[in-house]
């Protein structure tokens, strides 16, 4: 029982982390990024390559991959998203365009991964020492994953809510039309937000690859879960994403442990369906 709670929190912690990235991209840059999960998987494979062929530890890999995630997303925003933002007559049109373009991007990233690594399950063994937590034994890598997720998540919350930079981003999320009147460069804010989202996806990929097996085609499921967490927590709400992420991780772990591991996605969908019927604006969302 306790073992499942700990495992659920580990999984939920990573969900919360990646969902924060997605909610920042959607809330501030207004881009609904369907290729988000594939960015995560790309980071998983990058960590795998760094670890197995160059024996760089995943912790150090973070130092390489997180800035790369930021830089690459920045470029993607400049090249692909900016023209769409510029031509969109309203928010709805941008939403449709961004959904379509990132859906295409999903196939590009997935295709590259399939070409490079094939479709098989991949994993590596890192820091697999058992550690005793409150009477149950947990693999060290899982614990490390949880600690990393919490630390990075906390750092993000502090940046968003305690710095001037974060305030600018929140202002754009809250009132995109009024923000320019206060001298805020919304274009730059959107670009930064999209890039931060990419950096978080990379972080999530590194963390997830430490304790889970992954395949080149698993991106869809990660995007799906991150999206559900975002909606569950209320669109654009960071605290909501954290609570909802942990909740989803727990639900998934318990279903896998007590019902059947093959039904986790069905359980996740059931949560989503119930939510849509009861509280379409999320647990913390405003109507």
């Amino acid at each position: 029982m306790l073992e499942h709670v700990v495992n659920g929190l580990v999984l939920g912690g990573t969900y919360a982390l990646v969902a924060m990235g997605l909610t920042i991209q959607y809330g501030i840059a207004r881009i609904m990024n369907l290729s988000f999960g594939d960015t995560i998987i790309a980071a998983c494979f990058a960590t795998y390559v760094l670890f197995t062929s160059l024996s760089i530890s995943p912790i150090l890999a973070l130092l390489i991959l997180v800035p790369s995630g930021y830089a690459l997303s920045n470029v993607v925003y400049r090249v692909i998203m900016k023209p769409l933002v510029a031509r969109a007559p309203d928010e709805g049109a941008l939403e449709v365009d961004s959904i379509l373009v990132t859906f295409g991007l999903l196939f590009v990233i997935q295709g590259i991964l399939l070409y490079l690594f094939g479709g098989g399950y991949t994993s590596y063994s890192f820091f697999n020492t058992p550690i005793n937590v409150l009477g149950t034994v947990v693999a060290g890598n899982r614990l490390l994953a949880l600690v990393l997720s919490l630390m990075i998540g906390a750092a993000l919350v502090i940046i968003l809510f305690r710095t001037r930079w974060g305030m600018i981003l929140r202002a754009v999320a809250l009132a995109p039309k009024s923000a320019p009147l206060f001298g805020i460069d919304t274009d730059r804010a959107a670009r930064t937000a999209f890039a931060i989202g990419g950096a978080i996806a990379a972080t999530g990929g590194v963390v997830i690859s430490m304790f889970q097996t992954f395949t080149a085609t698993a991106g869809v499921v990660f995007t799906m879960k991150a999206l559900i967490v975002v909606i569950l927590g209320g669109k654009g709400s960071v605290p909501g994403a954290i609570v909802a992420g942990l909740l989803l991780g727990l639900v998934e772990t318990f279903v896998a442990a007590y019902v059947d591991p093959g039904l986790t996605l069905a359980a996740v969908y059931t949560v989503f369906l119930l939510l849509l019927l009861v509280r379409p604006n999320g647990i913390f969302g405003k109507a």
Partner: protein, 304 residues
């Protein structure tokens, strides 16, 4: 006058297409079959997603359900009943998805459909492994390529007829209003949710039937074959290239792209999905409203 000419022309084309398998080699019948399948998928997709602008990413969820239903039932029931069952299951699934998402903002619908194929695939796999203990099924139906082709052709004709009739009816008018401005439409007395639901159910049922009719082509069926996400993706590209807002748009997009994809998947099997993705991004950039609208624009531009 104009309509009757168009009908005569479409009817003649249909006859020629129906007679084609008698004169062309088996391989080309197969190509025509695949093409007709995608023309139907793209037209059915555009029937709902064009006017409502709700991007459905779940084409293969319905397509796969249709094919899998045939795989499960083909030995216990006569074929027409199997098709009816497949259509019924597709319809119920569309009702469930539609009722829970279509009254909300479009993005919820997109998200829901995005993972739907994966959900159905995993659930079917789980069911087969844990409950029926069979993984993979065989379809033994006495159909040759041309029999399947004729069925698809009939379905395609029916789909065009529905789309055409829809465009001329009160529903079509309501749809146009809805596509222009949903808030205005609902204030003008259009029951927005009901119309969206109706269209989604019709479109999904047709898509399910395409899957069901094509099922005998595979002979051996397992979830990973029939729930291949590339089907959703290709349908989407074809409809968008031609223009999802026009009756003939999806057809115009589907025919060249099907041939292109056929060639690409043989020539570049390893890079197929990369090329597909890049092509799609390009289409969204260059002609967001489809090639027919682009041609109209160019014509107008030329005259001005």
């Amino acid at each position: 006058m104009k309509t009757s000419y168009a009908f005569a022309l479409a009817g003649a084309a249909l006859v020629v297409l129906a007679l084609a398998p008698m004169f062309i080699p088996e391989y080309w019948t197969g190509v025509l079959l695949g093409m007709t399948g995608y023309v139907t998928l793209a037209t059915a997709w555009a029937l709902f997603s064009g006017p409502t602008r709700y991007v459905s990413l779940a084409t293969v969820a319905f397509f796969g359900v249709g094919a899998y239903t045939v795989a499960v039932l083909n030995e216990v029931m006569p074929y027409p009943l199997v098709l009816l069952c497949a259509a019924g299951i597709g319809m119920v699934m569309a009702l469930v998805v539609g009722l829970s998402t279509l009254r909300l903002a479009g993005v919820y619908f997109v998200i829901f459909t995005f993972g739907l194929a994966e959900l159905v695939r995993q659930t079917v796999s789980w069911w087969e492994v844990n409950v029926t203990y069979t993984m993979g099924r065989y379809v033994f139906l006495p159909f040759e390529g041309r029999h399947i082709y004729w069925q698809l052709l009939a379905l395609a004709a029916l789909t065009f007829l529905i789309a055409w009739a829809m465009g001329r009816s009160r529903i079509g008018l309501a749809l146009k209003a809805l596509g222009d401005d949903e808030t205005v439409a609902s204030h003008a007395g259009v029951d927005v949710t009901r119309i969206k639901l109706l269209l989604f159910v019709i479109s999904s049922t047709i898509i399910t039937l395409v899957g069901a009719i094509q099922a005998p082509r595979w002979t051996y069926i397992e979830p990973s074959i029939v729930f291949n996400p590339t089907v959703s993706f290709m349908t989407l590209i074809m409809a968008l290239l031609g223009g999802a807002m026009r009756l003939w748009g999806p057809l115009v997009g589907a025919v060249p792209l099907f041939l292109l994809f056929e060639w690409l998947s043989v020539s570049f099997p390893d890079h197929f999905s990369i090329i597909l993705g890049l092509l799609f991004i390009l289409i969204v950039f260059v002609m967001p409203n489809g090639v027919l609208a682009k041609i109209d624009d160019l014509r107008k531009g030329g005259r001005a």
